[in-house]
């Protein structure tokens, strides 16, 4: 089924927004419930069955609050930052293929677009912290920038490794190449790169660092920097940052699913494709939540050392190895 152009546009705009909105709200619920399970308590239970209406109640509360701009702050940037942090996540999702037939836009350079928009997110958080004129926020901003610069390099190196195998930047084609059983998924293509699982782990670690998730949550390290770049934000300003964090996790995990786990491809042949996509996506998201509630935070300089001294050399090794293997076999 192919819709005519104006309907298609409206449908996908609405669909993407709803998907992000629902996920951002309910990933908070998943995170709280998950954390509660890890910590042997029950989490939200009061609002709705099993606390299912809690995200909506939270959103209403945040919406009812006044958006305060500190008198010293840069008003324009301060208000612009939450929008800037949310918009790229939405843009990225419009290029992702969810199943054979579901996907807003097929771009030949889809992968480049995702990474291009991904880096705007960093700038937006930095601007938010900078515009707040708060010392904690500025320290946090400086951290975010150096952290993301450090982690984008190994991430892109792993992606280049993949690109050499796939030969295309079109996300749909990347998934189509992985059809026919899980041994065709990129993570199992050991003939092209025997270190493929390592490449995935590097990608996953970089994704955690890019989305500022524990154990790399330097930006919002509450026991050090209060709330980091978001210290001065209240009401929905904070709410949008909070949602954007989950939207970015969604993008990151979707990308990992597409690049490494065959996107909508079913490993055993049962169930329709989009369900498999969601299954893989949420399994990855659960891992992200799991990691956060299990590990303590690292120090900032160790984080940078990990990137420059371990991850970048390792990803270069996989890159060289892949090119050699592709040439030889």
């Amino acid at each position: 089924m192919t819709l005519s152009e104006p309907y298609r546009l409206f449908f996908y705009l609405f669909g993407t927004m709803a998907f992000v909105g629902l996920n951002a709200a309910y990933l908070v619920w998943v995170e709280r419930k998950g954390a509660a399970r890890f910590q042997r308590r029950s989490g939200p239970t009061e609002v709705g069955p099993a606390g299912l209406l809690q995200p909506i109640a939270d959103a209403l509360k945040l919406l009812s609050k006044q958006v305060l701009v500190p008198p010293e702050a840069d008003r324009t940037l301060f208000r612009l930052a939450p929008v800037l942090v949310m918009a790229p996540a939405l843009m990225c999702l419009s290029t992702l293929p969810y199943s054979e037939r579901l996907g807003a836009r097929d771009l030949n350079l889809g992968l480049v677009l995702v990474f291009a928009f991904g880096s705007i997110n960093v700038m937006a958080i930095m601007l938010g912290g900078w515009a707040s004129r708060n010392k904690y926020a500025i320290i946090s901003s400086a951290r975010i920038v150096s952290q993301n610069v450090a982690y984008e390099i190994p991430m892109l190196l792993t992606v280049i490794t993949l690109l050499m195998i796939t030969g295309t930047m079109n996300l749909r084609e990347i998934v189509e190449q992985q059809a026919g059983g899980f041994w065709n998924w990129n993570i199992c293509k050991l003939t092209a790169n025997p270190l493929m699982p390592v490449t995935f782990v590097i990608f996953f670690i970089c994704m955690l660092a890019e989305t500022n998730r524990a154990p790399f949550d330097m930006a919002e390290a509450e026991s050090e920097l209060v709330a980091g770049a978001f210290t001065e934000y209240g009401g929905m300003g904070f709410g949008v940052f909070f949602m954007a964090e989950y939207a970015n996790i969604l993008v990151g995990c979707s990308l990992a699913t597409i690049l490494f786990f065959g996107g909508w491809q079913s490993p055993i042949g049962v169930l329709p494709g989009h369900l498999w996509f969601l299954l893989k996506l949420y399994a990855l998201i659960f891992t992200v939540v799991w990691v956060r509630w299990t590990f303590p935070r690292t120090q900032f300089y160790r984080l940078l050392n990990l990137s420059w001294k371990v991850l970048i050399p390792l990803s270069l090794v996989t890159l060289v190895l892949t090119s050699a293997m592709l040439k030889l076999f």
């Binding site: 890890f38 910590q39 042997r40 209060v226 509630w293 120090q299 900032f300 160790r302």
Partner: protein
């Protein structure tokens, strides 16, 4: 005449660009209303200046205008996490001065409850410290264990936090069978839990990297500032009031003083974790030896008057040496009550120890000192 300006140690040198960062009085890492004025050079601390007094309650002055019995409940509110030890010190100073013979049953129960209180206090520290390091989950596990201790102590003292269980000459009431069996069960429950923490938390590579070699405090610095408790024992000095100035029946019981010579945050962490195991040992022994008999001395004067003089009694509280010095002029009301609290001494070394450290490491150091803010200001 040219006046020479005297600079405080660690103040910025010529051409160094610094800014002042206010850590507290409201900050998630200070666990109370402690304020530390940090002079920062980027993320490095050049000078940390603790500002005390935000929760000053004049406990010492209060001691000067009420009777000994009236002041006793105050002592449990100085360090709300180790109330047993604090009341023990005040009860001890009066008993020593008046010459009250405490029956052995009361002494053994004091040891049991004190050690339970020590474990509870260390569990709070364990959770809060890991929270400072960004690990949320251990806090809930620690509080789960602590809940069991609080339930036990609530049964015999009626309070969950600010106990006033020790009285001059003995105890408020006798322990019942429920407490004794409950404590026995707790000891068998807690040992595997400690093993679990050792495996899950102490062995975690991120935690080890965050604590090992971070925040070294030499034994010399500890002595200079009068640091006691796990802080000095983490610097290789086996100073524990229970061993060096034994009180109660500690000299009859068999236990070790955990000492780690590495001086870093990990050493202080390990000291406290090991102390919990030692406390369990003490409780087990005290339970086995618990004699029958009265729980309060037969002859306790109705109105307590200390003969004129100067009296001192120190106990090993969860955070270090807590001592009460009472100067009496023979009246019903003490002339002066001096409270020597461990957290205050432990905080004073923070300025020197944190110089040149990065902010997250300095906060790990602050957490490893295990400060209770009302204990600093009293």
């Amino acid at each position: 005449m040219q006046l020479e300006t005297i600079k405080a140690p660690g103040s910025p040198t010529e051409g160094q660009e610094t800014f002042v960062l206010n850590l507290g009085p409201q900050h998630p890492a200070t666990h109370g209303v402690l304020r530390v004025k940090l002079t920062m050079d980027g993320e490095y601390i050049t000078r940390a200046e603790p500002v005390c007094g935000y929760i000053h309650r004049m406990h010492e002055k209060m001691g000067e205008n009420r009777t000994y019995a009236q002041f006793l409940p105050n002592t449990s509110r100085i360090d709300y996490l180790s109330a047993m030890h604090y009341t023990h010190a005040f009860v001890g100073v009066v008993e020593r001065a008046v010459g009250i013979e405490v029956p052995p049953r009361a002494e053994y129960v004091r040891v049991i409850t004190s050690e339970l209180n020590r474990i509870a206090s260390h569990l709070v520290w364990f959770g809060a410290f890991l929270l400072d390091l960004g690990g949320f989950t251990p806090l809930l596990y620690a509080f789960d264990d602590r809940e069991k201790i609080l339930d036990l102590l609530e049964g015999i003292t009626g309070a969950r936090l600010t106990y006033c269980y020790y009285r001059f000459g003995g105890l408020y009431n006798d322990v019942d069978e429920a407490f004794l069996t409950g404590t026995r069960e707790f000891v068998t429950y807690m040992r595997p839990r400690l093993d679990m923490y050792r495996e899950l938390v102490t062995g975690n590579v991120i935690l080890r990297k965050r604590l090992e070699g971070i925040g070294p405090i030499s034994a010399k610095t500890c002595r200079k500032y009068g640091a006691t408790g796990p802080v000095i024992r983490g610097s290789g000095v086996a100073h524990d009031v229970r061993k060096v100035m034994p009180y109660s029946v500690y000299s009859d019981l068999d236990f070790d003083i955990p000492v780690f010579p590495e001086c870093d945050c990990m050493a202080r962490y390990l000291v406290r974790m090991e102390e919990m195991a030692q406390s369990l040992r003490l409780i087990e022994q005290a339970l086995a030896r618990l004699p029958a008999g009265p729980f309060v001395a037969a002859k306790v004067p109705r109105v307590i008057k200390l003969p004129p003089g100067d009296y001192y009694y120190a106990v090993e509280a969860a955070r270090g040496r807590f001592a009460v010095r009472v100067v009496s002029d023979g009246k019903e009301i003490p002339y002066r009550v001096k409270l020597r609290t461990p957290s205050f001494a432990n905080l004073t070394l923070f300025e020197e120890a944190s110089r040149g450290m990065m902010l997250p490491d300095a906060l790990a150091l602050l957490g490893s000192l295990d400060l209770v803010i009302p204990d600093i200001d009293r």
